[in-house]
Structure formats: C-alpha cells, structure tokens
Amino acid sequence: MPSFGGMQQAVGQLRPAAAAALTVQLEDLPVETTIEILSHLDFATLDKMLLVSRRLKRIIESHWATILSAVVEQDFSPAEGFLAVLRDVILPGSGVHSADSGILNGSSQLKLPSSAGGFYAVMNFCRAVKRWEAEFPSLRFCYLPQHSRSLEPHELRRLRSALYAWWRFAHAFHGPAPCPPGLDNSPEGRRSFIRQFSTAQLHELYDLWSTIDAAVGTRVCPSTSAVIAMGNPGAPWKMMTMEEAARIGWGTYAVHIEIVQTMVKLRPEDLLHLLVYRHRYATKASVIQFVRLRHPRIEEGPQTLTAAILDVVEERQSSPFPPFPFKLSFPLNHGGILDHKTPELEALRDVYNTDAGSGVHDYPQWLQDRDLSMTVRGGRLDSNS
C-alpha cells in the first residue's frame, strides 16, 4: 500500500496553511486586473473559472483571445502548431495568425479573433487536446505495461505537436468536410502536405498514429480472434462459440484491418469520444451508427496518413542527411514521442528536425505503385457486409 501520509505531507508543504486563509476581493478589482490574473492560470483552472460566477464567465467570454494567448504559450506549446489548427480547422477564415515577435520573446502576442462564437469552439479544442494528453500514456504503454509512466513536459509537447499535425491532416484529407481549396486529396497532394513537417516530427506523428491505430483495433473494435482469446468474462468456464465471437468481434485479419483503417478516419475529437465512451455502446450496430452519424462518407476509403508519412520519410532517404536511422515501428518503449534511450540518439532528433519542406524531387516509381495499392482497397465498417 503506498504511503498516502507521505503524499499528504508533500502536498501540505506545497500549500502552506497561510495561503489557504488568504482571500482576494476579486469582484472589486478592475476588469483589466481580473484579465491579467486569468492570463496567469493554467488551462484546467481557467476552464473551472467559467463556473465560478456570471461576471467571471462574461469576462472570460469577452476577453478570451487575450486570456488564452498567455495560456496557450504555457499549456499548448508549440504555439505555432496550435494556431495552425485554429487557422485550418477550428476557425477557418477568421484570420488567426501569430505576430512575428510574440512567440519568440515569450510576450504572447498571439492574434486570436475575438468573436464570442469562436470561444467555445476553441475551448472544446483545448479540452480535447488536454484529454488526449491524459489518455495517451495508457494507450501508448498498452503493450508495454512494465514501462508504463506519465509523460515528461517535453514529451507532452511532442505529443501535442503530433496531435496538431494529425488534426490538420484529418480535417484536410479524411473528411467528413470536403478537402479545403488549395489542397489536393491525391497521393501527391497529401505528400506535399506532409512535407511541411521535418523527419523528426514525422517520426513522432507516426508514433501517435500507430498508437491510435492499435487502440482502435483493440479497444473500439477488437477482432473476432481477440474476442475468442479474451473468452467469456461472465462465464470463463464456458467456451465462446464462433457465432458469438463473430457477433461481438469486428472480423478477422484483412477484414478487421480494413475496419480499423476506416474507423481511424474519424475526427480526433470523435475518436477520443469512442475511446473514452466505448463501454456505453452495447452493440456493434450502435458504434457503427455513431460513426456514420459523425462521418457519413467514412466508408468511401481507408485512411491515407500512414502512406503519406512513409512515402515522405522514404523519399528523403536520398537527402543530404544520412538515412533516417530509426525504424518506423511501434510500440517501442523509447523514441518517437518518448525520449530515446541514449543522449546520442536524442541528439539525432535535432539533425532530423531541419529537413521540413524537403523531399519533392525523386519520388521513386515503386512507391507510386504503393499508392495505387492503397487506393484500391475500400473503406469498411461492418464485418458482415
């Protein structure tokens, strides 16, 4: 039994008794001071402030752009990635941008639009990012329980960076919204989108994407064979019949893979919903119904992110750098979003973080064949169809 006494003591030391008795007459302070105080909060506490009083809620709603700018720097770095999602996905066309000097000198000059309508969309996005942060370790270490741990702040930053990239890719190429103007939902169009990221970033994104793929394949739609292997938890002595397993499971081998590859096209917030609330959906049919509701055209084809990442990493093998030394294969208990095993390997991250935007030239023929094989396979949700 862990010693809770010790923990309480530690918490007690962090919060001296004197601080508990101290109060501030916030309602009497000028609005600008309240805004300044709110800007120093972390996101979770700021979110709670919406429930404290009407006046506070109103202040946050009318000044959210100022308040969140400071919070983003602190809780949602890299701010460029965060803003890119706001610009492309959450508030398209509303002129989100970052002032040149702001991010660099830390004086938080993010330019967020101040319309009240955007506020709840941005808050929901922030909440989803924080929930992904909370859920990710259990998904990432699912097959490595002995290595299970929480993520370090710099690893969380990598996770967020990967989440932002996925959010944008999914919005542009996985639907349900049509591909935005200026982008082209073809293999080359997707590669050119992916080329904006460095190889190190792609490695992190691939880690996230593999983790999601595995989580959906086990938690949301386990294969029929996995269902048989799990047995009947209610009556372990009773063998599960093939029919029963097929009723619960989501197909075997190729069929199961196709279903998972279709399911992961859901928007990040919807996938999060399924991962968190899967237990509330009693039947496969109810899951499928939810998925079709959220993404009516999801069955038109499988996900395209894996191919785009692999292609771009592959085509960069002939770049000025030595070939990328890390295997794109997860789960490993190190690398990707997590730290590498040694400082030497960790230093390579910097080397491979400088090639963003490169790799357009020598696209090998055999890779184009892979595109073809990826596109012919259809999307699928139902193992019986």
Binding site: L22, V24, Q25, T33, I37, D42, L50, S53, Y120, N124
Partner: protein
C-alpha cells in the same frame, strides 16, 4: 544642484495621508512617477508629489517597501522597453518570484494583497502588478470551483439549471451514446 534623490509622495485620496519618502531609483519603477519626472524640473520635485488612489497608507507602505527593495531591478519604461540601472536596454524576461518576493507576498494579509494590486495598477508598476496577479493565480491554481469561490470571495449567482448547462457545454467529449442507442 544635484538631482533630487528622495521623492516625497502623499496619497491625497483621503485627507491626512502620510508623506512617504521614497528613493528616486525605487520610485522609478512606477510609470506614473516616470511621467512626472519627465514633466517637472527638479525644483518642483522638492515639494510633495500628490497621488490619488483608494488604498490605505498601510497598503501603500507595502508597495514602497517592494519598490525600495527592488530599486536595482530593470525598469519597464513607458514605451514598453526594459531599462537597466544605466538606462541601457535589457532583454525582456518573464518575471519570477525571488526568495524575497516570496516572503513578501506570503506575509501579506488579504487586504494588503488587494491594495497592492490596486496601487500597482494605478502607479503603473508593471513588475509588481504582474507578480501580484501571478500570486493570485497561484492561489487558485488547481483548486475546485467551490474553493476558488471561497478564495475570491464570490457567491455563485448561477441557478442549478444554468450550472448544469455550462457543465454539459464543457463536457469535453459529448456523450452521444444515448441518442445513438435510442435510434
């Protein structure tokens, strides 16, 4: 004549305010004082400089205590740049609490903390204002909504339905399983 090194400041918000003698280098943390220094000759500064802010002399004494202790720290000027003791530009750095600052803030009572925020805002003492706001933020960080209300002396004016609606609005991943099951 040597430049005036001690300034006399008096809060005239209420009659009978104490006259504070503050070192010029300390007083220059205040944007308001900087402006006065620019506009007046040294001969004018021998007189008492009136300020008018709704805080007690006790609160003001605390503000001047912080300013005097921090007189050698870089000053934020009117144009937003930060200046060192020899008036050279200094790179902006995020403010952190020094050990002395921590002791200073921890020793405050609620009224003094409130008055420091009001006075630092009025006198435009950017570092003290920011530290004060940061200190309040640290007080409520990680607390429950109910605890936050206690610390900020706020009584909830939401009715239960409103509170529920906001909570639902905040529900990060909406629970749509019920609608899906019903259909």
């Amino acid at each position: 004549m040597a430049p005036i090194q001690i300034l006399k400041l008096q809060n005239t918000f209420k009659p009978g305010g104490k006259v504070f003698e503050v070192e010029r280098a300390a007083a220059e943390h205040s944007g308001l004082v900087q402006m006065l220094l620019q506009d007046f000759d040294d001969s004018d500064l021998e007189a008492i400089i009136p300020i008018s802010v709704d805080v007690s002399d006790k609160g003001l004494a605390k503000v001047f205590e912080w300013m005097t202790h921090s007189k050698d720290l870089p000053k934020t000027t009117d144009d937003g740049s930060v200046r060192g003791p020899d008036d050279s530009a200094v790179n902006w750095k995020p403010l952190t609490f020094s050990d002395w600052d921590k002791k200073f803030f921890d020793a405050l009572d609620s009224e003094a903390l409130y008055e420091i925020l009001i006075a630092a805002n009025y006198l435009d003492i950017k570092p003290l204002y920011e530290l004060g706001c940061q200190f309040v933020a640290n007080m409520i960080r990680g607390k429950t909504t109910e605890q936050i209300r206690e610390i900020l002396n706020i009584t909830s004016d939401f009715n239960p339905e409103e509170e529920l609606r906001i909570r639902e609005q905040k529900a990060l991943v909406k629970d749509e399983s019920e609608t899906a099951e019903k259909n």
